[in-house]
């Protein structure tokens, strides 16, 4: 067990995970933040993507102890009080998701990407999301949602 302190969705947290525990399992099991989904558990599917210190990372490929001192944002931290963020609302409007399993990873990857690339076009969005696997939609509606969010962000 290793004692760690980190910030998750703006709040200070402490924990004592085993060294082998991934950040994904720490978020889900120790902090009860089950919005972060685990698909493959070896870095292929992208479902567990969260934002660590401003960058999208796969939380199954990072140990919880390595997040000590970091600022972590999960899907639960995107909008307060059960509301929706701009991207989430745009994805709602374009019916981006079906079963919902890939949703949190897809959304977190897209949030990180749009904050760095507010003017991204379709090809860039597709490349940015290429590491996140969705087995329902065929991706078109997801890409539409991200592009709509980018448009709304720019219009503000």
């Amino acid at each position: 067990m290793v004692d760690i302190t980190l910030r998750v969705n703006g709040a200070a947290c402490t924990g004592s995970p085993e060294a082998r525990k991934t950040l994904a399992d720490f978020l889900r099991d120790d902090l009860n933040l089950t919005g972060t989904h685990l698909g493959c558990e070896h870095g292929v599917c992208g479902a567990c993507t969260v934002i660590v210190d401003g960058r999208a990372v796969r939380s199954c490929l990072m140990l919880a102890v390595q997040a000590a001192g970091s600022e972590v944002t999960t899907i639960e931290g995107l909008a307060p009080d059960g509301g929706l963020g701009t991207l989430q609302e745009a994805m709602w409007d374009t019916h981006s998701f079906q079963c919902g399993f890939c949703t949190p990873g897809m959304v977190m990857q897209a949030v990180a990407f749009l904050s760095d690339h507010p003017d991204a076009g379709e090809q860039q969005v597709r490349e940015a999301l290429s590491g996140n696997i969705c087995r329902c939609t065929g991706y078109q509606s997801i890409v539409d949602g991200v592009l709509l969010a980018a448009e709304r962000n720019r219009a503000r």
Binding site: A19, R20, T49
Partner: protein
């Protein structure tokens, strides 16, 4: 799967890390970005007794240019290297390959040294290191040694780093005048491991090729140079016929692996097409750099 139980050490300096490696030898795995090692643990393909996490060693990160070389600290994250103006300017072949590694979230954590120490023969950076004759700096209990790329890659996921040594830095030569570059790969999706990849450079002087480098990813258990094709190119003027012949020489004797992504014969054809494409592109941008 969940990771197996493993001890964990987080040294703060290279000396501490080397002491730990000397103590645990091949029972230890060095944890850098973890983008390859953690899957190996999850899939039970690696069984270290202890992880030596070098993420807290500040002296291992950074990019600096000196005396014709660009030195990249082993823990430098791939996205940092990707955004580095020094690398973009001085090592354009490396800059071309970096955005092709994995996906954005992988490059957030993955490191330049980690990829090169992992030595996956299908990965981009080993091919670039081999093409440019990069140098690998390792530190062990008896001090530092510098290993040329030609001697670094020994086999599938195997390098000449000894168990008690830590890769601390990789040095790439600064691109000379008239050098054109191209990194080409064919993959099923953006970000997937390449079916075949190729790191290429051509240096033109007075309209003729004075230096040529071709290093393949995915054709063998190590990144391989196409020496015959390079020899053919040097002294000649760029032309479609010359590049066709280079593609033939580069691939005729190759014996690529076969898997569900492609047969050996398909890989050979892809490799030849990449040689032609890369040489055309490199010759074009060599013109621009003059």
């Amino acid at each position: 799967m969940k990771l197996p139980p493993v001890d964990y050490e987080a040294p703060k300096t290279v000396s501490e890390a080397v002491e730990l490696l000397a103590e645990h030898q091949d029972e230890a795995s060095v944890l850098a970005g973890g983008q390859s090692l953690i899957p190996l643990l999850a899939l039970r393909l690696a069984h270290p007794a202890v992880l030596i996490d070098i993420n807290g060693i500040d002296e291992l990160s950074g990019v600096s240019a000196t005396d014709g070389w660009v030195a990249i600290g082993a823990m430098t994250r791939e996205y940092v290297a990707e955004e580095s103006a020094t690398i973009a300017d001085a090592v354009p072949l490396l800059a071309a390959a970096l955005p092709l590694i994995g996906h954005e979230a992988i490059r957030s954590r993955g490191t330049v040294g980690g990829s090169l120490a992992h030595a996956d023969p299908a990965a981009e950076l080993p091919a670039v290191a081999r093409a440019l004759d990069a140098e690998f700096v390792v530190r062990g209990p008896s001090g530092e040694r510098v290993i040329p790329a030609a001697e670094w890659f020994e086999g599938f996921l195997t390098t000449s780093r000894r168990p008690d040594e830590l890769l601390t830095e990789v040095r790439f030569p600064v691109a000379g005048r008239g050098m054109g570059i191209s990194f080409q790969e064919v993959a099923r999706r953006h970000g997937d491991f390449a079916i075949v990849g190729l790191a290429a450079s051509l240096t033109l002087s007075g309209g003729a090729i004075s230096d040529a480098r071709l290093a393949f990813a995915g054709l063998s258990d190590v990144p391989v140079r196409a020496g015959d094709a390079e020899d053919l190119l040097v002294g000649e003027r760029p032309s479609a016929e010359l590049f066709d012949e280079a593609a033939r020489r580069a691939t005729d004797d190759s014996d690529p692996p076969a898997d569900l992504h492609g047969s050996a014969d398909y890989r050979k054809q892809v490799a030849a097409a990449l040689v032609r494409r890369a040489l055309r592109a490199a010759a074009d941008n060599a013109d621009e750099r003059r």
